[in-house]
Subunit: 426 residues, 4 copies
């Protein structure tokens, strides 16, 4: 019996959280339905991503380690060694397996990991069902982080699976898809925003990560954003104009990278006798010139913009513009798992489809301070050398994204759904 039961309003919030929790836990497993056991075990490559079995376990470990062991009396860890196996990068949470070793363990088995998930889910539900007022105050935000954490891993799972299937010469199909016939899309146009001091960063009661704070004023000059994403067809012009061969379009580090890696096309593209094809979640398909180009590194996005005579937006510019449109788009809920054509006039595709590279390095906002404890390691310690992406992708949940959401990756990363929005100053 709880000393101080939750109020009715709280009770409604709790039920909403429980519902969100259940939905997210379920979706993770739904996403795995097309997989066979072998697909769970391997890593995408030696350097990118993690085995699916690891994601399944790690997202449960997060709830177990951050919440259950601290907030459930007498809670028994599912297995004493799982903390070692499934801690990702939290140095405050004990010894962990080296990341590169994830691909070299076959056990715990997939079935055991599903047992682990079930065990954690049940204990979490039990905990949430019995929260008193004080616990609710303490745990609401942490549980919410756990849910959003799992949503981030859903995206990684999708992109890891895509990579695993691409890396296999058999090129398996995750989910077949009717090829959309190329049709009219809006021509490239510019959406203007006036200069001024804008407030940037998260505000209000809703959930946001720590890196979206502190909210602060920022002066932004007059600028324009392109009305839609850069398409495959447009990017093909860059290729055909030998954009990958002219150093002047590239950052120094980008030029070094494309030389070393031999890059001369988007990650999943492949030239065949009958034209360009690309790996999709539906297997190999012809490149549709009207769809947004995807799996583009920052280096390539930046070079493309320079070739086009414009530039990438700053994250502030993107955020200011994004508040002018509804938060709708092609998210994981559409089940397409690939970006699609722009279908509306005006500023479109700001949310969903592909993450949009900004020219902003990932740095702390004014007044930012990482939280105390292990969750302080979630975001802050990565503020070095990465670039910010905005808007979510076709692998993101609509319940996960916000205008202020700051995703970030190193500039050479290509295995995410990442594409190009253009900007120019006036």
């Amino acid at each position: 019996m709880n000393a101080n039961p939750a109020s009715a309003m709280e009770e409604a919030s709790i039920q909403q959280l429980i519902s969100h929790f259940k939905n997210v836990r379920t979706l993770t497993e739904t996403l795995c339905e097309p997989l066979v056991t072998e697909d769970y075990v391997i890593a995408p490559t030696a350097h990118i991503g993690s085995p699916i079995r690891w994601h399944l376990a790690h997202t449960s470990w997060f709830f177990e380690t951050i919440i259950l062991v601290h907030h459930v009396k007498g809670y028994q860890e599912f297995h004493p060694q799982y903390n070692f196996f499934f801690n990702s990068y939290y140095v405050q949470l004990g010894e962990k397996q080296d990341r590169t070793q994830r691909a070299f363990v076959s056990r715990p088995t997939v079935a055991e990991i599903y047992e682990y998930r079930k065990y954690v889910t049940e204990h979490m539900l039990q905990l949430m069902d019995n929260l008193d007022e004080a616990q609710w105050a303490e745990l609401e935000s942490i549980i919410t982080i756990g849910i959003h954490h799992e949503q981030q891993h859903q995206e990684l799972m999708i992109t890891d699976i895509k990579h695993i299937f691409w890396n296999n010469p058999l090129r398996p199909v995750y989910k077949s898809r009717d090829i959309e016939v190329s049709s009219e899309i809006p021509s490239l146009d510019w959406h203007r925003i006036e200069a001024g001091n804008y407030w940037i960063g998260h505000e209000g009661d809703g959930f946001a990560y720590d890196n979206e704070s502190g909210r602060h004023q920022q002066y932004v000059g007059d600028f324009e954003l392109s009305n839609r994403l850069v398409t495959n067809g447009e990017f093909l012009q860059f290729i055909e104009d030998r954009g990958y061969e002219k150093a002047t379009y590239w950052l120094d580090a980008g030029w070094d990278t494309i030389q070393e890696q031999g890059w001369n096309k988007p990650y999943y593209w492949e030239k065949r006798d009958d034209g360009w094809w690309q790996m999709t979640m539906a297997g190999m398909q012809p490149v549709n010139p009207a769809e947004p180009v995807s799996h583009i590194s920052y280096f390539e996005a930046d070079a493309y913009a320079r070739w086009a005579g414009v530039r990438l937006p700053t994250e502030a510019e993107w955020e200011v513009a994004s508040t002018q449109v509804p938060m709708e788009g092609n998210f994981v809920e559409s089940s397409l798992l690939e970006p699609t054509m722009s279908k509306t006039s005006g500023l479109s595709q700001m949310f969903g489809d592909v993450w949009e590279w900004t020219q902003s390095h990932y740095s702390p906002y004014p007044g930012y301070a990482a939280p105390a404890g292990a969750l302080g390691e979630y975001n802050g310690k990565f503020m070095c050398g990465s670039f910010v992406l905005r808007g979510g992708s076709c692998a993101t949940s609509v319940t996960h994204i916000r205008p202020t959401y700051r995703n970030f990756f190193a500039p050479h990363v290509r295995w995410q759904y990442s594409g190009i929005r253009l900007a120019r100053s006036l």
Copy 2:
């Protein structure tokens, strides 16, 4: 109908070959019985060994590519891409997947690979059941190579599984085993051989690899071999005498290796509060001082011998001595899968238990010429920088080994059952 049916004597030989073929194909699968699907998929490490699913397929690929596609009219390959996946190192047999990629493919699945095995086995049996005289003459030796090739991979599978299980902090048990209580073993003694010109290399009708030819005379001076293998207890003295810390015992490349790798004990040993333990096929077990030391690199074997004031045998010395004892020992057929104590007086343990490092680099015998065609790549192209091991191990089949058998590995390799036989000149 065959133009020229096989004679009765040939028929007996064919039946024997079929029986050998069946036994070996079955044993490969029997060895996998303790595994779950996940165990088949991962590689031991990024650098050593191959996934078990790959071994299962590769040993079938060998029969399909070397024999079935050439000698069965209208033979349909099981899958057009399997040659790419399961060719190991035969440059004459078409494009192949990079070795390091074996750990990053999840398909074909384990079930599909078992189908592949079944398909190949059936076609091989059909072929063998209908051989005429001419085909028999042409195919007997190639089929025999295919059988021995699979036996070599059985050894690799056992040592790869051992490595996979060791590399996993859960340290799974492949097959439980009653710990043998340490008891009396023969004290170290010396077995003398007279100087003279000896014939070295394979002779006669039985099967042998090309690298055991040409048979040739070799002058060998007076020498002595130790009557048994070096034990864990003896090797422990080397450790306790700080053998890993004194450069003068080591080859220059060996010293560099142990510095870089931080080696200071045999591969699978682990020091605990209650003494030394080691990984075995039965999981972690206390080190038994009476059993042969195993999983020793050439560098360590050589350093141990120098510390002991003696040396390793040459392969000629080993071969001369080995002909004086019966070809008996602790082989895979004993199902122990670990080396055991010497139980007999006189020259013992020459066969089975652990491969014995010789001081001989792996070079061609006089008159050696690699066969024409892809099988010429089986042995000859590796005659550079490796050292010869002799006598087979507890993972070797008694039907696979011979006194003239030349195994070889690079001097830093430790994941095989490899140990130490001592020698000295007089």
Copy 3:
């Protein structure tokens, strides 16, 4: 004879430029006076810096390739292969030697390179002596860039020499120095700046690099800067508090770096029985607790600030504050070549002594566009992954620095005179 001779005012400017040019060219050579031939030839390490002979030639190559070959009729290059040897990173200026090869060429000799310098200097002087109005308009800024370019290399030469001498166990002395006895320095205090929209970036006629444009408004919140640089004594407290051992103070990439590299002290420090010593241009000397800590990476500066409960300034904050103090300090002109104690109250040491790491990634200012042609490669293509440093150091010339000057290095770099200024928000 010139069609349109320079006006009197231009003539004065030209004479000033000539004088600046001469002084800078002379200083480069003066800095080399303590060297023997051998010191010119080697590189500091395989990864950092360049041989001194290369700096001497490259700074001449810049004038030759950017100016003389284009603007002097019939100009004869000193040597046809020097463009290959001495082009640093300008892809538009032809094939160049790989950077790592600079340490592996012994010729052209040092004497030949001095000849080259003389040849280029004389042709530059001849050119400048005869500029007409149109040429002056065209060349003034380019010549000025060449001069500042050489000044940048003077700094690199000093820090490369320091590294070369440190890397040699003989620890040679570049120039002996009387050890300054530690005395009173101002206690750490905070200098407050009011929030507001500030103009950031270069303005006016004076020389500035392209990366200091475009000048733009930026909103800066209330903040405070520490009145002086962090001292050796203060940094020692961080070490003694085991700052290098606690992951929570460090960026993730910083923590990885200090683990891999084994960093646990500033670059040139060395612990001896009688306390801490450090390499200086005067050889090994005891660490003076009152002097600014130097040769600190961004990772260390950032970790120190977090340990101290504050943060590093942004580059905008630094620039706003710097305009409140005179541009005076311990520059290369003082010939100390090491940072010294703060001697004044109030905001001190903003210029000279050590470059001050800011928390700002090196990104383009709003409206920034790299110039056309080879000079466009000077700055813009490096705007990825580095951090901005401000204020110059004891190796910088007072004629080279400005409040708006943006230096930048990767976050692990330590061979420059780089130190710590603290900031905090209010």
Copy 4:
């Protein structure tokens, strides 16, 4: 005054030793005469060879450390840190600088190193001038090793200089040379040797390295050696027959190496519009088809032999054959420093011109034991993975070579004068 003065016969030997010592010390410096200071300082590459200044010092260090400090009472080391700088690989002789650092120290200067040489030479002469009988017995062999050690480094100096000059796009000339006009050379023929038990290894009083012992019987079958070395013209046929592109000619490790390194011609060859040129000590010169091919790795020599349908000799075969011809040839004394055409019929070019790769791995002879102490590290610890070369080259002194002399290098090494002698079994 000596207790027991040397006898007259000893005195003659001593004088001979002194003379040999003086000549060798002088030659080392003579070889450096064409160099400028800068040439002494750099290393050939990051991976091969050492700076010339290091060779000059190391050969003096050897005498100082092995002899002077132990055998001259009150001997004062020239500098306390030189042991650290100039010890190559003797772990028993104290801490030493990492090999890769040799290229990154500019001091001690070249002049100081010449002072060091002079100091050591004078003390050695003083010591030798006053040897009594007992000292002579003890020191003769060690001094002789020191002399031969310096001769080995003379060879390395020549090949390091050649590499340094080749690596520099200016391609300096060490010593100009009249190009020999191509003329008749003997056609390739075979020299037959009868099978039998031969004695192999060093015998008698003359100097030999430890690795030439123990002398032992070896049975050698009937074989033939090619009468002369393989020429550039013959090797060119291998290239034109696409020998570098056909895996079947190559060892597995060799094939990997040429793929990784992009090898498709001998090390110093360069294709120009007017045909093949090669770097020589006289700068770039056209490849003379009649001269022996040189700067060939074991991998290439072995592949060439396989392409030619024959093989490389074993070292025993080579040694047996070499005793049938006089020890004459194109040595360093001829001052050509490049191999030349065969001018005699019968078995020719066995000594000098180029080192001849044998198919023998470098292993200990029967009964070989490394000497006690530091000199035991001279040869024995390298008996792993290298191949034996025989006969000396144009950079070897005639006073340094013997029929039993065993040189050895890793199979990928190409910067030595190394070429091809063919063999075949009968």
